[in-house]
Symmetry: C2
Subunit: 434 residues, 2 copies
């Protein structure tokens, strides 16, 4: 029984999770595949200091990734370094040496996935990236194979565990953003610089990859409107609950008559929807197919073991392809492929909206705001005001009927001239039920 | 660009859904695959009376499945006839002619999957059966590829849409089983003979297939304890709600120290759990992996289009394999493969239990029942009695602490001798939260 040999580059969280599974489940994996999947080389800048799991003691260690991609025994390289610098060199190097590649790199695949995939196909090697989005959820296998016979018309996801943890904690305990973020940092759920998570950039990379897969379209992160969760306060949860909703950082791809509308932004979602049930650091993806209608996928978004499962599952699939001599067949980023899904501006999206104001109270405020909305032909649905002990910084909420994002932006622009507003209004779309 | 040719046997619900998608999405499918997937032959007993979708007008029609499996152009046969009779002949015939096979046949694959798979591997052809379980949910792709690097330790599912529709309607409207079943029959959700659905046999076949896939073990339907929903009444939902639970027909596979415990039975599940949110004719599968922990999958359980997506996705995968010359590699039913998961009796399962009695009321009843439980070392958790206007057929509920199914069975046996019971107690396990 001939084996397939793996080279691992990067022994951080994901790398450690991956080699633990490969070592502990070596026999199981061999029984599932019909041949052994062997770790031949591991590479890390601090490889001397790393203790490898039992069963990997004889493995070649190196601090230079070139030793991995050039190693004659290595059939497939797992790039688990992350980032867009050396990771790109590693993948290009592996492809140049005719090695197949498994990557967990969302940033790089979101930015250069199309290019890398073209190169892989030209070289006749396999490329797999299950671990790049929603660690524990096998959403790539689902989109690539499971429902490949369907035509995806919409996709919504909760793809950043850190911001979901922050929002659900804020919802539960009524504490302000800053306090919850500090707690998340203390627990290791959030980075010292939390921007990638709370400003939506991490989720945006993931949505770029998922929508490329789902719509067969070339999507780059800059095609996606992004807005983070920093302006959400416990107060907004109280208003949202009053409206039967909650607030989540929603990644959304919507096929409309105008084109594909892509956004990552905090939004109101119905409290009884299945997406609202996604708590803490979990991730979820909801897919609407033209034929199969709703399907929903849920699991851990990150962590060494769930992400390790994704990498190992990819290694197993690629190893099978290598053994049966079949290269990757069609790029998921083939933008010439389906072609009907051109990204368009979020400004053409139509939704009901939630607007939260903070005002220096005086008579005539509602009339002024309602007047601006009316001038833009935006119907007013409700005006809500929860008890408050100050007149100088009084919060209240207006919800609108379904209107275009464009009209809302124009209305907000007009409102910026009103001297009673202490800050620009917070505007959140209210997502229709799944 | 060379095409791959498909023969379709069976033009019922699933067959019609399948050929509609193949016809309408022909160009999309070709773009996704890089080659065309062409319907070459269709077979149905009433094929002359069937109107085929546009684009399939030139297709060969036959009433004899032998014409399909023997047709020199056909590369892959879709068996969409169902049942265990002629369907088996069709699949065997296709394999004998070296054709790959896609099937939606849960009954046959649950009963003879292992044998059929062995034959397919010997013949070097591909076999796929995504549509056999939970139509719209790509759970086969998930287990076969998506999380193949994990080790599944438990699996729970709602796999029969009809019984889930009946239970959720009963819960919502408080109507008795018989009325809801009649309504489901009127709507076409339930068959004239509803036994396969309401007695759990349909779900049992599906669980047999899923657990074979998940645990790499040969599971036959008779390894699975089965109990239907006929004894559930609206009253049970009222008690369940009082306990913070609801009732669903739960398919469960649990890896324990004793072995693999498999059951299909109505059970109490926490009202706030994600599984309890599965309403109406939807299906869901929850998987617990040793490494990846919880993942959850949800979608339509049946219907021509969702099941058609599963068949078409399988056809696309198999067509790719045919084009790249790679046969199916390892049987999902390889019972010699992982080997650690032997099915054992449900009697060794440990759960808290819900017992609902109907008694001819008199003093001493609780004492008598509690005495029997105590003698079996079963701890009593709560005694609940909702208002009732008759003493002659008084319902009430006892819940127990965690105990073995075996002890419960012995207690129920003892209770059968008590003359104040109007019927044997209804005993439902209370499932721990996912």
């Amino acid at each position: 029984m001939q084996e397939v040999n793996v080279g691992i580059v990067g022994l951080g969280n994901v790398g450690s999770g991956t080699i633990s599974i490969l070592a502990e489940s070596a026999d199981q994996i061999a029984l599932k595949l019909g041949f052994r999947l062997k770790v031949a080389v591991v590479c890390s800048r601090s490889v001397a200091a790393k203790s490898l799991p039992d069963g990997l003691d004889g493995v070649l260690r190196t601090t230079d990734w070139r030793d991995v991609v050039a190693h004659p025994k290595v059939d497939v390289v797992a790039e688990l370094v992350g980032g867009t610098g050396v990771a790109r060199e590693i993948i290009d190097g592996a492809i140049a040496h005719g090695k197949s590649v498994v990557t967990a790199n969302k940033e790089l695949m979101a930015l250069c996935g199309s290019e890398i995939w073209d190169r892989a196909i030209q070289a006749g090697i396999n490329l797999a990236m299950e671990a790049s989005v929603a660690g524990g959820i096998p959403i790539h296998a689902v989109l690539r194979e499971g429902i490949s016979g369907d035509r995806v018309i919409a996709l919504k996801g909760i793809l950043n565990g850190t911001s979901n943890f922050i929002l659900t904690e804020m919802e539960k305990h009524g504490e302000p953003m800053e306090a919850v973020l500090a707690e998340a940092q203390r627990l290791g759920y959030a980075e010292a610089d939390p921007s990638a998570d709370v400003d939506g950039y991490d989720a945006r990379s993931k949505l770029a990859i998922l929508s490329a897969l789902a719509f067969g379209e070339r999507i780059t992160p800059t095609d996606i409107y992004v807005e983070g969760i920093r302006r959400i306060s416990p107060l907004d949860f109280r208003y949202a609950h009053q409206l039967g909703h909650t607030i989540r950082l929603v990644c959304s791809a919507d096929q409309t008559h105008d084109g594909l509308i892509l956004s990552v932004r905090p939004a109101l979602i119905g409290q009884s929807t299945i997406l609202a049930g996604v708590q803490g650091a979990y991730n979820a993806v909801w897919v609407k197919g033209f034929y199969g209608q709703d399907t929903f996928y849920y699991g851990r978004g990150a962590g060494p073991s769930p992400t390790g499962v994704a990498v190992v599952s990819d290694l197993m699939r690629v190893a099978r392809e290598i053994r049966s001599g079949s290269p990757e067949r069609v790029s998921p980023f083939a933008h010439e492929r389906l072609g009907e899904y051109k990204p368009v501006s979020v400004r053409s999206q139509r939704r009901p909206y939630y607007m939260r104001f903070r005002v220096n109270d005086r008579p005539g405020i509602t009339a002024a705001l309602a007047g601006i909305l009316a001038a833009k032909h935006i119907g007013l649905e409700a005006v809500l005001q929860q008890p408050c002990d100050t007149k100088h910084d009084l919060p209240f909420v207006i919800t609108t009927e379904t209107t275009s994002e464009n009209a809302m932006c124009e209305a907000v622009e007009e409102m910026s001239r009103l001297d009673f507003l202490n800050q620009p209004p917070l505007v959140l779309p209210m997502e229709p039920p799944l």
